[in-house]
């Protein structure tokens, strides 16, 4: 779990570089809330905001437990 650090100038690498990995929370912001949504015979695409909210409640408690560990 990445935690926000102090204000920092991001390191910039050269073109033809790799893209940087993002933290779980930042990815969830993006992967659950946005992105291409396809419908039809897709089994599941997590468009359901309710589902996300329910899950985030669980996440919060899991993350808390995790952060309580040394």
């Amino acid at each position: 779990m990445t935690v926000l650090e102090d204000a920092s100038v991001p390191e910039v690498t050269r073109p033809s570089r790799e893209l940087a990995p993002a933290s779980l929370v930042d990815l969830l912001d993006r992967l659950l809330g946005t992105g291409v949504v396809v419908a039809g015979d897709v089994v599941v695409s997590l468009a359901g905001v309710d589902l996300v909210e329910v899950k985030l409640q669980v996440l919060i408690s899991s993350v808390r437990a995790e952060m309580a560990e040394p």
Binding site: L31, G35, V36, V37, G40, L46, I60
Partner: protein, 270 residues
């Protein structure tokens, strides 16, 4: 094969990589992707990545089991932080590999199609909006900039010495008004930061402010911005973040990137 897909009896003849318990997890749709770019990158459960093409569009997929990714198991698994973290990590890794090689529209987490024909049908159906989304993100990367107000040390005001009830209420009101003024000022500065960064990006979005219990940040988040920036402008953009951080030392400005254009590849029609 198609008989096994009880929910889509009309699916027709199928080339058939997946078995009846399998489906295709779709990570992203790219334009003109050389599949070689994905060499050495594994999909979920270490499954090999495949591509499904329609015209110049390429969906990046791998086979997953419906016992793990079917609707009901998925709901359960989403409650499992380590499962979620694993899937998000692989999803991101695959998308990053694709996005450095070709214009890439990332899909939401856990977009599952029954088989390759279903994937191809989506590519056909969403051809125009997909092309528009890819036009928007081509040559660009996403940057995240968050602005936080560090927490004030509590109880610094005159609360130690005894005061009259009226005096106490006056102080309390003043403190509360002070906080409101500070919050408004921080908000205004955050908007100034956002406006400045927006001017230097192709597109920008406000994401929901993050719950500190999830992100682990301290202080109050006043901006969770996403910025679509041309790859060649990355250095300038990052430099500007640094300048803004210096300009507003009272704020915590956290810039991250470059990332795949997660926040900017939405289809216009849903």
């Amino acid at each position: 094969m198609s008989q096994a897909l009880r929910r889509t009896p009309n699916v027709g003849e199928v080339a058939g990589e997946p078995t009846d318990q399998d489906a295709r997890y779709v990570y992203a749709v790219c334009r003109g992707l050389d599949a070689q770019a994905l060499a050495g990158v594994a999909g979920l459960g270490a499954a090999p990545l495949d591509v499904v093409a329609h015209d110049e569009l390429t969906a990046v997929v791998s086979t997953v089991s419906l016992t793990e990714f079917g609707e009901e198991p998925l709901r359960r698994n989403l409650e499992d932080l380590s499962w979620l973290e694993g899937v998000v990590g692989v999803h991101d890794q695959v998308i990053r590999a694709a996005a450095v090689a070709a214009p890439t529209a990332p899909l939401r987490l856990a977009t599952i199609c029954f088989d390759d024909d279903a994937v191809r049908a989506r590519l056909r159906e969403w051809y125009i909006p997909l092309m528009q989304a890819l036009d928007r993100v081509e040559g660009c990367e996403e940057w995240s900039v968050k602005v936080l107000v560090p927490s004030m040390p509590a109880g610094s005001a005159a609360s130690d010495h005894p005061v009259s009830g009226a005096e106490y209420l006056r102080l309390k009101k003043a403190a509360s008004e002070g906080r409101a003024t500070e919050a408004a000022a921080a908000q205004e500065k955050a908007m100034a930061v956002h406006d400045e960064l927006s001017r230097r990006s192709v597109a920008s979005r406000h994401l929901s402010l993050q719950d500190p219990r999830l992100s682990g940040h301290s202080g109050t988040m006043v901006l969770n911005g996403a910025y679509l920036v041309r790859a060649e402008d990355a250095e300038t953009f990052a430099g500007r973040i640094g300048e803004l951080a210096a300009q507003y030392p009272e704020l915590l400005i956290d810039g991250r990137g470059p990332w795949p254009p997660y926040s900017f590849a939405m289809l216009d029609q849903r």
